[in-house]
Protein backbone atom coordinates (compact mmCIF):
# COMPACT_ATOMS: atom_id res chain seq x y z
CA UNK A 1 0.00 0.00 0.00
CA UNK A 2 1.37 3.40 -0.94
CA UNK A 3 1.68 6.16 1.58
CA UNK A 4 -1.06 8.14 -0.10
CA UNK A 5 -3.42 5.18 0.05
CA UNK A 6 -2.56 4.62 3.69
CA UNK A 7 -3.14 8.24 4.49
CA UNK A 8 -6.48 8.02 2.78
CA UNK A 9 -7.48 4.94 4.73
CA UNK A 10 -6.44 6.58 7.95
CA UNK A 11 -8.35 9.66 7.02
CA UNK A 12 -11.35 7.52 6.18
CA UNK A 13 -11.12 5.80 9.53
CA UNK A 14 -10.76 9.06 11.35
CA UNK A 15 -14.32 10.03 10.31
CA UNK A 16 -17.33 8.28 11.78
CA UNK A 17 -19.93 7.48 9.12
CA UNK A 18 -22.82 8.42 11.35
CA UNK A 19 -22.68 10.65 14.37
CA UNK A 20 -25.77 10.87 16.56
CA UNK A 21 -26.02 13.58 19.14
CA UNK A 22 -28.68 13.68 21.88
CA UNK A 23 -31.43 12.29 19.68
CA UNK A 24 -34.92 12.61 21.14
CA UNK A 25 -38.31 11.52 19.86
CA UNK A 26 -40.88 10.94 22.58
CA UNK A 27 -44.48 9.85 22.11
CA UNK A 28 -44.99 10.03 25.90
CA UNK A 29 -42.52 10.20 28.82
CA UNK A 30 -40.40 7.05 28.61
CA UNK A 31 -41.95 6.06 25.26
CA UNK A 32 -39.73 6.54 22.24
CA UNK A 33 -36.11 7.64 22.10
CA UNK A 34 -34.91 9.75 25.01
CA UNK A 35 -31.47 11.23 24.38
CA UNK A 36 -29.28 8.79 22.47
CA UNK A 37 -25.67 9.49 21.43
CA UNK A 38 -23.45 7.21 19.41
CA UNK A 39 -21.08 7.01 16.51
CA UNK A 40 -21.00 4.46 13.75
CA UNK A 41 -17.73 3.85 11.94
CA UNK A 42 -17.22 2.65 8.37
CA UNK A 43 -17.45 -1.12 8.08
CA UNK A 44 -18.95 -1.49 11.53
CA UNK A 45 -22.05 -3.47 12.44
CA UNK A 46 -23.88 -1.95 15.37
CA UNK A 47 -26.52 -4.07 17.06
CA UNK A 48 -29.35 -2.45 19.00
CA UNK A 49 -31.08 -4.80 21.42
CA UNK A 50 -33.80 -4.31 23.98
CA UNK A 51 -37.31 -5.34 24.90
CA UNK A 52 -40.42 -4.42 22.93
CA UNK A 53 -41.26 -0.76 23.45
CA UNK A 54 -37.71 0.21 24.36
CA UNK A 55 -37.45 2.58 21.39
CA UNK A 56 -35.32 0.46 19.06
CA UNK A 57 -37.51 0.85 16.01
CA UNK A 58 -38.18 4.54 16.69
CA UNK A 59 -34.44 5.09 16.82
CA UNK A 60 -33.98 3.27 13.53
CA UNK A 61 -36.75 5.28 11.88
CA UNK A 62 -35.20 8.53 13.08
CA UNK A 63 -31.78 7.46 11.83
CA UNK A 64 -33.04 6.45 8.41
CA UNK A 65 -34.83 9.73 7.76
CA UNK A 66 -38.33 8.31 8.02
CA UNK A 67 -39.36 9.98 11.29
CA UNK A 68 -38.40 13.53 12.22
CA UNK A 69 -36.97 13.61 15.75
CA UNK A 70 -38.04 16.20 18.34
CA UNK A 71 -34.47 17.29 18.89
CA UNK A 72 -30.87 16.22 18.34
CA UNK A 73 -28.61 15.92 15.33
CA UNK A 74 -27.70 13.08 13.02
CA UNK A 75 -24.62 13.76 10.98
CA UNK A 76 -23.78 11.56 8.04
CA UNK A 77 -20.46 11.65 6.23
CA UNK A 78 -21.15 11.47 2.52
CA UNK A 79 -19.07 9.78 -0.18
CA UNK A 80 -17.04 12.93 -0.78
CA UNK A 81 -16.37 13.34 2.92
CA UNK A 82 -19.04 16.03 3.18
CA UNK A 83 -20.97 16.32 6.42
CA UNK A 84 -24.73 16.13 6.06
CA UNK A 85 -27.15 16.86 8.88
CA UNK A 86 -29.91 14.42 7.95
CA UNK A 87 -32.78 16.66 9.02
CA UNK A 88 -31.15 19.87 7.84
CA UNK A 89 -30.64 18.90 4.20
CA UNK A 90 -33.50 19.18 1.73
CA UNK A 91 -36.02 16.40 1.48
CA UNK A 92 -34.88 15.72 -2.05
CA UNK A 93 -31.28 15.16 -0.88
CA UNK A 94 -32.51 12.94 1.93
CA UNK A 95 -34.61 10.83 -0.39
CA UNK A 96 -31.69 10.55 -2.81
CA UNK A 97 -29.51 9.29 0.04
CA UNK A 98 -32.17 6.73 0.91
CA UNK A 99 -32.19 5.48 -2.67
CA UNK A 100 -28.46 5.38 -3.25
CA UNK A 101 -26.12 5.55 -0.26
CA UNK A 102 -28.44 3.83 2.18
CA UNK A 103 -30.51 0.71 2.31
CA UNK A 104 -33.38 -0.27 4.54
CA UNK A 105 -34.28 -3.88 5.18
CA UNK A 106 -37.71 -4.09 6.74
CA UNK A 107 -38.86 -6.81 9.08
CA UNK A 108 -41.72 -7.71 6.76
CA UNK A 109 -40.55 -8.12 3.15
CA UNK A 110 -43.90 -6.78 1.91
CA UNK A 111 -43.03 -3.39 3.42
CA UNK A 112 -39.80 -3.24 1.47
CA UNK A 113 -40.73 -4.97 -1.79
CA UNK A 114 -43.17 -4.12 -4.54
CA UNK A 115 -45.28 -7.23 -4.41
CA UNK A 116 -47.03 -6.52 -7.71
CA UNK A 117 -43.95 -6.47 -9.94
CA UNK A 118 -41.41 -9.18 -10.74
CA UNK A 119 -38.24 -9.92 -8.78
CA UNK A 120 -36.10 -8.44 -11.57
CA UNK A 121 -38.05 -5.17 -11.52
CA UNK A 122 -37.72 -5.05 -7.74
CA UNK A 123 -33.96 -5.30 -7.99
CA UNK A 124 -33.79 -2.86 -10.91
CA UNK A 125 -36.01 -0.17 -9.40
CA UNK A 126 -33.26 1.70 -7.57
CA UNK A 127 -31.07 1.64 -10.67
CA UNK A 128 -33.90 3.00 -12.80
CA UNK A 129 -34.52 5.66 -10.17
CA UNK A 130 -30.97 6.92 -10.54
CA UNK A 131 -31.15 6.92 -14.31
CA UNK A 132 -30.26 3.48 -15.68
CA UNK A 133 -32.10 3.21 -19.00
CA UNK A 134 -30.67 0.06 -20.55
CA UNK A 135 -32.92 -2.98 -20.22
CA UNK A 136 -30.11 -5.47 -20.91
CA UNK A 137 -27.94 -4.01 -18.15
CA UNK A 138 -30.83 -4.02 -15.70
CA UNK A 139 -31.52 -7.62 -16.59
CA UNK A 140 -27.96 -8.83 -16.11
CA UNK A 141 -27.57 -6.86 -12.88
CA UNK A 142 -30.79 -8.44 -11.65
CA UNK A 143 -29.51 -11.92 -12.44
CA UNK A 144 -26.15 -11.25 -10.81
CA UNK A 145 -27.82 -10.10 -7.60
CA UNK A 146 -30.22 -13.03 -7.53
CA UNK A 147 -27.18 -15.32 -7.70
CA UNK A 148 -25.52 -13.27 -4.98
CA UNK A 149 -28.46 -13.82 -2.61
CA UNK A 150 -28.82 -17.47 -3.60
CA UNK A 151 -32.10 -17.26 -5.53
CA UNK A 152 -32.48 -19.30 -8.74
CA UNK A 153 -32.05 -16.85 -11.66
CA UNK A 154 -34.89 -18.63 -13.50
CA UNK A 155 -37.24 -16.90 -11.06
CA UNK A 156 -36.32 -13.40 -12.17
CA UNK A 157 -39.73 -12.85 -13.77
CA UNK A 158 -41.76 -14.30 -10.90
CA UNK A 159 -43.71 -12.11 -8.53
CA UNK A 160 -42.31 -11.86 -4.99
CA UNK A 161 -45.58 -13.13 -3.59
CA UNK A 162 -44.82 -16.55 -5.06
CA UNK A 163 -41.56 -16.63 -3.07
CA UNK A 164 -41.08 -18.19 0.37
CA UNK A 165 -40.52 -15.92 3.38
CA UNK A 166 -36.76 -16.46 3.36
CA UNK A 167 -36.51 -15.80 -0.36
CA UNK A 168 -38.55 -12.62 -0.04
CA UNK A 169 -36.20 -11.42 2.66
CA UNK A 170 -33.16 -12.20 0.50
CA UNK A 171 -34.76 -10.43 -2.45
CA UNK A 172 -35.32 -7.40 -0.25
CA UNK A 173 -31.64 -7.40 0.66
CA UNK A 174 -30.61 -7.67 -3.01
CA UNK A 175 -32.95 -4.80 -3.91
CA UNK A 176 -31.22 -2.62 -1.33
CA UNK A 177 -27.65 -3.60 -2.11
CA UNK A 178 -27.88 -3.09 -5.87
CA UNK A 179 -26.79 0.55 -5.67
CA UNK A 180 -23.84 -0.42 -3.46
CA UNK A 181 -24.94 1.51 -0.37
CA UNK A 182 -22.49 2.30 2.40
CA UNK A 183 -24.98 2.13 5.24
CA UNK A 184 -27.79 -0.36 5.70
CA UNK A 185 -30.50 -0.22 8.35
CA UNK A 186 -32.01 -3.56 9.27
CA UNK A 187 -35.09 -3.97 11.41
CA UNK A 188 -35.33 -7.55 12.66
CA UNK A 189 -34.15 -9.02 9.34
CA UNK A 190 -34.63 -12.56 10.57
CA UNK A 191 -37.95 -12.06 12.34
CA UNK A 192 -40.62 -14.54 11.32
CA UNK A 193 -38.21 -17.00 9.70
CA UNK A 194 -37.62 -20.53 10.93
CA UNK A 195 -34.21 -21.34 12.39
CA UNK A 196 -32.63 -23.12 9.43
CA UNK A 197 -33.68 -20.37 7.00
CA UNK A 198 -32.50 -17.84 9.57
CA UNK A 199 -29.09 -19.46 9.74
CA UNK A 200 -28.71 -19.39 5.97
CA UNK A 201 -29.78 -15.75 5.79
CA UNK A 202 -27.39 -14.78 8.58
CA UNK A 203 -24.56 -16.59 6.88
CA UNK A 204 -25.26 -14.77 3.65
CA UNK A 205 -25.60 -11.42 5.40
CA UNK A 206 -22.30 -11.88 7.19
CA UNK A 207 -20.52 -12.60 3.93
CA UNK A 208 -22.10 -9.63 2.17
CA UNK A 209 -21.22 -7.27 5.00
CA UNK A 210 -17.58 -8.36 4.86
CA UNK A 211 -17.35 -8.44 1.06
CA UNK A 212 -18.94 -5.06 0.50
CA UNK A 213 -17.55 -3.38 3.61
CA UNK A 214 -21.04 -2.31 4.68
CA UNK A 215 -21.84 -0.39 7.80
CA UNK A 216 -24.99 -1.75 9.37
CA UNK A 217 -27.35 -0.62 12.09
CA UNK A 218 -29.13 -3.79 13.13
CA UNK A 219 -32.17 -3.75 15.37
CA UNK A 220 -33.03 -7.11 16.85
CA UNK A 221 -34.39 -8.70 19.98
CA UNK A 222 -32.60 -11.92 19.19
CA UNK A 223 -29.28 -11.93 21.05
CA UNK A 224 -27.98 -14.83 18.97
CA UNK A 225 -28.42 -12.80 15.80
CA UNK A 226 -26.74 -9.85 17.46
CA UNK A 227 -23.79 -11.98 18.55
CA UNK A 228 -23.32 -13.46 15.10
CA UNK A 229 -23.52 -10.25 13.10
CA UNK A 230 -22.65 -7.23 15.17
CA UNK A 231 -19.31 -5.91 16.35
CA UNK A 232 -20.73 -3.56 18.90
CA UNK A 233 -23.94 -3.66 20.88
CA UNK A 234 -26.23 -1.07 22.45
CA UNK A 235 -28.78 -2.18 25.02
CA UNK A 236 -31.86 0.04 25.14
CA UNK A 237 -34.55 0.34 27.74
CA UNK A 238 -37.26 2.98 28.15
CA UNK A 239 -35.80 5.04 25.32
CA UNK A 240 -32.33 5.25 26.84
CA UNK A 241 -29.13 3.38 26.13
CA UNK A 242 -28.37 1.56 29.36
CA UNK A 243 -25.17 -0.13 28.26
CA UNK A 244 -22.96 -0.25 25.21
CA UNK A 245 -19.73 -1.97 24.27
CA UNK A 246 -18.25 -4.81 22.27
CA UNK A 247 -20.78 -7.54 21.57
CA UNK A 248 -18.90 -10.35 23.27
CA UNK A 249 -18.13 -8.17 26.24
CA UNK A 250 -21.77 -7.29 26.79
CA UNK A 251 -23.13 -10.75 26.21
CA UNK A 252 -20.49 -12.52 28.34
CA UNK A 253 -20.14 -9.96 31.09
CA UNK A 254 -23.19 -7.70 31.27
CA UNK A 255 -22.86 -4.92 33.83
CA UNK A 256 -26.26 -3.23 33.92
CA UNK A 257 -29.01 -5.17 35.76
CA UNK A 258 -31.25 -5.00 32.71
CA UNK A 259 -28.52 -6.37 30.41
CA UNK A 260 -27.96 -9.15 32.90
CA UNK A 261 -31.66 -9.93 32.87
CA UNK A 262 -31.72 -9.86 29.07
CA UNK A 263 -28.74 -12.19 28.71
CA UNK A 264 -30.01 -14.60 31.34
CA UNK A 265 -33.46 -14.74 29.73
CA UNK A 266 -32.17 -16.40 26.56
CA UNK A 267 -33.49 -19.91 26.17
CA UNK A 268 -30.92 -22.54 25.31
CA UNK A 269 -32.18 -25.72 23.70
Amino acid sequence: MTNAAMAMTEEGLAEPLLKVNDLRKLYAPGKGVDGVDFELWPGEVLGIVGESGSGKTTLLQCLSGMLTPDSGQIEYTGKQGDKLDIYDITESQRRLLLRTDWGIVHQHPRDGLRMGVSAGANIGERLMAIGERHYGTLRSTGEAWLREVEIDTARIDDLPRTFSGGMQQRLQIARNLVTQPRLVFMDEPTGGLDVSVQARLLDMLRNLVVDLGLSVVLVTHDLAVARLLSHRLMVMRGGKVVEQGLTDQILDDPQHPYSQLLVSSVLTP
Binding site: R95, R114, M128, H134, Y135, G136
Partner: protein, 297 residues
Protein backbone atom coordinates in the same frame (compact mmCIF):
# COMPACT_ATOMS: atom_id res chain seq x y z
CA UNK B 1 -60.43 32.41 -28.27
CA UNK B 2 -62.71 35.37 -27.69
CA UNK B 3 -63.46 34.76 -24.06
CA UNK B 4 -63.63 38.45 -23.17
CA UNK B 5 -66.65 38.78 -25.38
CA UNK B 6 -68.44 36.04 -23.53
CA UNK B 7 -68.57 38.03 -20.32
CA UNK B 8 -71.21 40.39 -21.65
CA UNK B 9 -73.60 38.45 -23.74
CA UNK B 10 -77.00 39.48 -22.44
CA UNK B 11 -78.49 39.57 -25.92
CA UNK B 12 -77.30 36.20 -27.12
CA UNK B 13 -79.64 33.36 -27.74
CA UNK B 14 -78.09 31.28 -24.95
CA UNK B 15 -79.21 33.80 -22.36
CA UNK B 16 -82.80 33.51 -23.39
CA UNK B 17 -82.87 29.78 -22.74
CA UNK B 18 -81.94 30.30 -19.10
CA UNK B 19 -78.28 29.27 -19.23
CA UNK B 20 -75.24 31.45 -19.01
CA UNK B 21 -73.08 31.46 -22.12
CA UNK B 22 -71.57 27.95 -22.48
CA UNK B 23 -73.46 26.64 -19.42
CA UNK B 24 -70.88 27.46 -16.68
CA UNK B 25 -71.26 30.64 -14.64
CA UNK B 26 -68.64 33.36 -15.08
CA UNK B 27 -67.06 32.86 -11.63
CA UNK B 28 -66.41 29.20 -12.38
CA UNK B 29 -64.92 30.07 -15.75
CA UNK B 30 -62.70 32.61 -14.06
CA UNK B 31 -61.47 29.98 -11.60
CA UNK B 32 -60.82 27.47 -14.37
CA UNK B 33 -59.01 30.09 -16.48
CA UNK B 34 -56.68 30.79 -13.59
CA UNK B 35 -55.94 27.06 -13.34
CA UNK B 36 -55.40 26.91 -17.11
CA UNK B 37 -52.90 29.76 -16.94
CA UNK B 38 -51.01 27.97 -14.22
CA UNK B 39 -51.13 24.70 -16.16
CA UNK B 40 -49.74 26.38 -19.28
CA UNK B 41 -47.03 28.07 -17.23
CA UNK B 42 -45.89 24.74 -15.75
CA UNK B 43 -46.19 22.25 -18.62
CA UNK B 44 -47.34 18.81 -17.52
CA UNK B 45 -48.08 19.83 -13.93
CA UNK B 46 -51.49 18.78 -12.65
CA UNK B 47 -53.35 21.79 -11.30
CA UNK B 48 -56.29 21.01 -8.99
CA UNK B 49 -59.50 22.89 -9.80
CA UNK B 50 -62.96 23.09 -8.33
CA UNK B 51 -64.71 20.75 -10.73
CA UNK B 52 -68.41 21.45 -11.22
CA UNK B 53 -71.30 19.09 -11.79
CA UNK B 54 -72.02 18.86 -15.48
CA UNK B 55 -75.30 17.60 -16.89
CA UNK B 56 -73.79 14.26 -17.84
CA UNK B 57 -72.05 11.51 -15.84
CA UNK B 58 -68.39 11.43 -14.84
CA UNK B 59 -66.40 9.51 -17.39
CA UNK B 60 -68.34 11.01 -20.31
CA UNK B 61 -66.06 13.98 -20.68
CA UNK B 62 -67.04 16.36 -17.88
CA UNK B 63 -63.46 17.58 -17.44
CA UNK B 64 -62.98 18.30 -21.11
CA UNK B 65 -66.38 20.02 -21.28
CA UNK B 66 -65.55 22.35 -18.41
CA UNK B 67 -62.32 23.36 -20.12
CA UNK B 68 -64.11 23.84 -23.44
CA UNK B 69 -66.90 25.84 -21.80
CA UNK B 70 -64.27 28.07 -20.19
CA UNK B 71 -62.19 28.87 -23.26
CA UNK B 72 -64.86 28.97 -25.94
CA UNK B 73 -66.00 32.33 -27.32
CA UNK B 74 -68.83 33.31 -29.63
CA UNK B 75 -66.61 33.33 -32.71
CA UNK B 76 -65.07 29.92 -32.08
CA UNK B 77 -65.81 26.91 -34.21
CA UNK B 78 -66.09 23.70 -32.25
CA UNK B 79 -65.29 20.16 -33.31
CA UNK B 80 -65.85 17.21 -30.98
CA UNK B 81 -64.43 13.76 -31.61
CA UNK B 82 -64.76 10.51 -29.74
CA UNK B 83 -62.35 7.72 -30.70
CA UNK B 84 -61.51 9.86 -33.72
CA UNK B 85 -65.10 9.86 -34.98
CA UNK B 86 -67.39 12.89 -35.26
CA UNK B 87 -70.59 10.87 -35.32
CA UNK B 88 -70.47 8.78 -32.15
CA UNK B 89 -72.96 9.34 -29.33
CA UNK B 90 -70.57 11.16 -27.02
CA UNK B 91 -69.26 13.45 -29.74
CA UNK B 92 -72.72 14.26 -31.07
CA UNK B 93 -74.18 15.05 -27.66
CA UNK B 94 -71.29 17.24 -26.52
CA UNK B 95 -71.32 19.12 -29.82
CA UNK B 96 -75.06 19.68 -29.52
CA UNK B 97 -74.65 20.75 -25.90
CA UNK B 98 -72.34 23.61 -26.88
CA UNK B 99 -74.40 24.50 -29.93
CA UNK B 100 -77.39 24.97 -27.63
CA UNK B 101 -75.77 26.58 -24.59
CA UNK B 102 -73.20 28.76 -26.37
CA UNK B 103 -74.69 29.08 -29.81
CA UNK B 104 -71.28 28.54 -31.40
CA UNK B 105 -70.70 27.17 -34.86
CA UNK B 106 -69.74 23.51 -35.00
CA UNK B 107 -67.86 21.61 -37.63
CA UNK B 108 -66.55 18.17 -38.45
CA UNK B 109 -63.54 19.55 -40.28
CA UNK B 110 -60.26 19.63 -38.37
CA UNK B 111 -59.01 22.53 -40.49
CA UNK B 112 -62.08 24.69 -39.88
CA UNK B 113 -62.17 24.16 -36.09
CA UNK B 114 -60.62 26.57 -33.60
CA UNK B 115 -61.40 24.40 -30.55
CA UNK B 116 -61.36 20.61 -30.76
CA UNK B 117 -62.54 18.54 -27.83
CA UNK B 118 -61.28 14.99 -28.07
CA UNK B 119 -61.43 11.66 -26.40
CA UNK B 120 -58.81 9.03 -27.35
CA UNK B 121 -57.37 10.58 -30.50
CA UNK B 122 -55.39 13.46 -31.92
CA UNK B 123 -56.69 14.27 -35.43
CA UNK B 124 -54.58 12.90 -38.28
CA UNK B 125 -54.65 16.28 -40.03
CA UNK B 126 -51.78 18.29 -38.54
CA UNK B 127 -52.99 21.03 -36.20
CA UNK B 128 -51.93 24.60 -36.70
CA UNK B 129 -51.02 27.53 -34.50
CA UNK B 130 -54.07 29.10 -32.88
CA UNK B 131 -56.02 25.87 -32.57
CA UNK B 132 -56.76 24.42 -29.13
CA UNK B 133 -57.05 20.71 -28.47
CA UNK B 134 -59.01 19.81 -25.32
CA UNK B 135 -58.62 16.28 -23.99
CA UNK B 136 -61.05 14.43 -21.76
CA UNK B 137 -58.96 12.63 -19.16
CA UNK B 138 -60.13 9.75 -16.95
CA UNK B 139 -57.03 9.24 -14.75
CA UNK B 140 -54.59 12.16 -14.81
CA UNK B 141 -52.00 10.64 -12.45
CA UNK B 142 -49.47 8.41 -14.25
CA UNK B 143 -47.97 7.22 -10.94
CA UNK B 144 -51.30 6.13 -9.47
CA UNK B 145 -50.94 2.47 -10.46
CA UNK B 146 -47.87 2.10 -8.27
CA UNK B 147 -48.49 4.70 -5.55
CA UNK B 148 -52.04 5.15 -4.26
CA UNK B 149 -51.27 8.10 -1.96
CA UNK B 150 -51.84 11.54 -3.48
CA UNK B 151 -49.42 13.19 -1.01
CA UNK B 152 -46.72 10.78 -2.09
CA UNK B 153 -47.30 11.12 -5.85
CA UNK B 154 -47.16 14.91 -5.58
CA UNK B 155 -43.85 14.61 -3.78
CA UNK B 156 -42.58 12.22 -6.42
CA UNK B 157 -43.50 14.70 -9.16
CA UNK B 158 -41.87 17.57 -7.31
CA UNK B 159 -38.65 15.64 -6.76
CA UNK B 160 -38.79 13.99 -10.19
CA UNK B 161 -38.71 10.50 -8.71
CA UNK B 162 -39.81 8.76 -11.85
CA UNK B 163 -37.92 5.47 -11.55
CA UNK B 164 -41.19 3.62 -11.01
CA UNK B 165 -42.45 4.61 -14.46
CA UNK B 166 -39.63 2.59 -15.93
CA UNK B 167 -40.46 -0.27 -13.55
CA UNK B 168 -43.77 -0.51 -15.40
CA UNK B 169 -42.06 -0.56 -18.80
CA UNK B 170 -39.51 -3.09 -17.49
CA UNK B 171 -42.38 -5.36 -16.46
CA UNK B 172 -43.82 -5.11 -19.96
CA UNK B 173 -40.57 -6.21 -21.58
CA UNK B 174 -40.00 -8.96 -19.01
CA UNK B 175 -43.46 -10.40 -19.64
CA UNK B 176 -44.10 -9.76 -23.32
CA UNK B 177 -40.66 -9.16 -24.80
CA UNK B 178 -41.54 -5.62 -25.85
CA UNK B 179 -43.17 -2.54 -24.33
CA UNK B 180 -46.78 -3.65 -24.43
CA UNK B 181 -48.31 -0.40 -23.20
CA UNK B 182 -50.29 0.82 -26.20
CA UNK B 183 -52.37 3.68 -24.84
CA UNK B 184 -51.95 6.25 -22.05
CA UNK B 185 -48.25 5.85 -22.75
CA UNK B 186 -46.34 8.03 -20.24
CA UNK B 187 -44.49 11.07 -21.57
CA UNK B 188 -42.05 13.53 -20.08
CA UNK B 189 -43.07 17.12 -20.75
CA UNK B 190 -40.46 19.86 -21.15
CA UNK B 191 -37.86 17.70 -19.41
CA UNK B 192 -39.60 17.70 -16.04
CA UNK B 193 -43.09 16.37 -15.36
CA UNK B 194 -44.09 12.88 -16.37
CA UNK B 195 -47.63 13.07 -17.69
CA UNK B 196 -50.36 10.67 -18.63
CA UNK B 197 -51.50 11.81 -22.09
CA UNK B 198 -55.02 10.46 -21.37
CA UNK B 199 -55.98 7.27 -23.16
CA UNK B 200 -54.78 8.26 -26.61
CA UNK B 201 -52.98 5.44 -28.44
CA UNK B 202 -49.20 5.72 -28.36
CA UNK B 203 -49.54 6.15 -32.14
CA UNK B 204 -50.49 9.77 -31.35
CA UNK B 205 -47.70 10.46 -28.84
CA UNK B 206 -45.26 11.87 -31.44
CA UNK B 207 -47.95 14.35 -32.54
CA UNK B 208 -47.85 16.00 -29.11
CA UNK B 209 -44.16 16.80 -29.45
CA UNK B 210 -43.62 20.36 -30.63
CA UNK B 211 -47.25 20.70 -31.70
CA UNK B 212 -48.11 24.26 -32.79
CA UNK B 213 -51.55 23.90 -31.17
CA UNK B 214 -52.25 24.47 -27.46
CA UNK B 215 -53.17 21.22 -25.72
CA UNK B 216 -55.32 21.29 -22.60
CA UNK B 217 -56.26 18.29 -20.47
CA UNK B 218 -59.27 18.24 -18.15
CA UNK B 219 -60.10 15.46 -15.69
CA UNK B 220 -63.59 16.01 -14.26
CA UNK B 221 -63.81 13.27 -11.68
CA UNK B 222 -60.25 13.76 -10.39
CA UNK B 223 -60.58 17.56 -10.72
CA UNK B 224 -57.22 18.16 -12.36
CA UNK B 225 -56.16 20.33 -15.28
CA UNK B 226 -52.84 20.14 -17.11
CA UNK B 227 -51.49 21.48 -20.35
CA UNK B 228 -48.86 21.33 -23.04
CA UNK B 229 -48.17 24.79 -24.49
CA UNK B 230 -47.38 25.04 -28.22
CA UNK B 231 -43.92 23.92 -29.34
CA UNK B 232 -43.13 22.03 -26.14
CA UNK B 233 -40.78 19.07 -25.90
CA UNK B 234 -42.76 15.87 -25.23
CA UNK B 235 -40.74 12.66 -24.96
CA UNK B 236 -42.19 9.18 -24.59
CA UNK B 237 -40.38 7.15 -21.93
CA UNK B 238 -38.41 4.14 -23.13
CA UNK B 239 -35.24 2.09 -22.70
CA UNK B 240 -32.05 2.56 -24.72
CA UNK B 241 -32.27 -0.97 -26.06
CA UNK B 242 -36.08 -0.95 -26.37
CA UNK B 243 -36.83 2.42 -27.94
CA UNK B 244 -40.32 3.88 -28.22
CA UNK B 245 -42.23 2.64 -31.26
CA UNK B 246 -45.69 3.38 -32.60
CA UNK B 247 -48.18 0.83 -33.83
CA UNK B 248 -48.31 -0.14 -37.48
CA UNK B 249 -50.75 -2.12 -39.59
CA UNK B 250 -50.25 -4.51 -42.49
CA UNK B 251 -53.68 -3.51 -43.84
CA UNK B 252 -54.83 -0.22 -45.33
CA UNK B 253 -58.08 1.64 -44.78
CA UNK B 254 -60.99 -0.05 -46.56
CA UNK B 255 -62.52 3.29 -47.62
CA UNK B 256 -59.70 5.69 -48.34
CA UNK B 257 -56.77 3.30 -48.68
CA UNK B 258 -54.66 5.14 -46.11
CA UNK B 259 -51.57 3.23 -44.99
CA UNK B 260 -50.33 5.75 -42.44
CA UNK B 261 -53.31 6.54 -40.19
CA UNK B 262 -54.59 4.83 -37.06
CA UNK B 263 -56.87 1.97 -38.13
CA UNK B 264 -59.81 0.41 -36.31
CA UNK B 265 -60.61 -3.23 -36.88
CA UNK B 266 -64.30 -3.78 -37.63
CA UNK B 267 -65.84 -7.24 -37.58
CA UNK B 268 -68.29 -7.52 -40.45
CA UNK B 269 -69.85 -10.97 -40.03
CA UNK B 270 -69.64 -14.07 -37.84
CA UNK B 271 -67.40 -15.94 -40.27
CA UNK B 272 -64.17 -14.12 -39.53
CA UNK B 273 -64.79 -11.27 -41.95
CA UNK B 274 -63.18 -8.02 -40.88
CA UNK B 275 -62.14 -4.74 -42.38
CA UNK B 276 -59.84 -1.97 -41.26
CA UNK B 277 -60.96 1.65 -41.37
CA UNK B 278 -59.48 4.98 -40.30
CA UNK B 279 -60.54 5.90 -36.80
CA UNK B 280 -60.41 9.59 -37.77
CA UNK B 281 -63.62 9.92 -39.80
CA UNK B 282 -62.95 13.48 -40.96
CA UNK B 283 -59.52 12.54 -42.31
CA UNK B 284 -60.95 9.46 -44.02
CA UNK B 285 -63.76 11.46 -45.65
CA UNK B 286 -61.35 14.08 -46.91
CA UNK B 287 -59.10 11.47 -48.46
CA UNK B 288 -62.09 9.61 -49.86
CA UNK B 289 -63.48 12.73 -51.52
CA UNK B 290 -60.15 13.87 -52.95
CA UNK B 291 -59.58 10.33 -54.21
CA UNK B 292 -63.04 10.23 -55.78
CA UNK B 293 -62.48 13.62 -57.41
CA UNK B 294 -59.17 12.54 -58.82
CA UNK B 295 -60.74 9.39 -60.22
CA UNK B 296 -63.51 11.46 -61.82
CA UNK B 297 -60.88 13.62 -63.50
Amino acid sequence: MTSAASNHNSDTESDSNGYNFAYLDEQTKRMIRRCLLKAVAVPGYQVPFGGREMPLPYGWGTGGMQVTATIIGQDDVLKVIDQGADDTTNAVSIRRFFARTAGVATTESTLAASVIQTRHRIPETPLSHGQILVYQVPIPEPLRFIEPRETETRKMHALQEYGVMHVKLYEDIARFGHIATTYAYPVKVNGHYVMDPSPIPKFDNPKMHGSPALQLFGAGREKRIYAIPPFTRVESLDFEDHPFEIQGWDQTCEFCGSDHSFLDEVVTDDEGGRIFICSDTDYCNQRFETGARQEAV
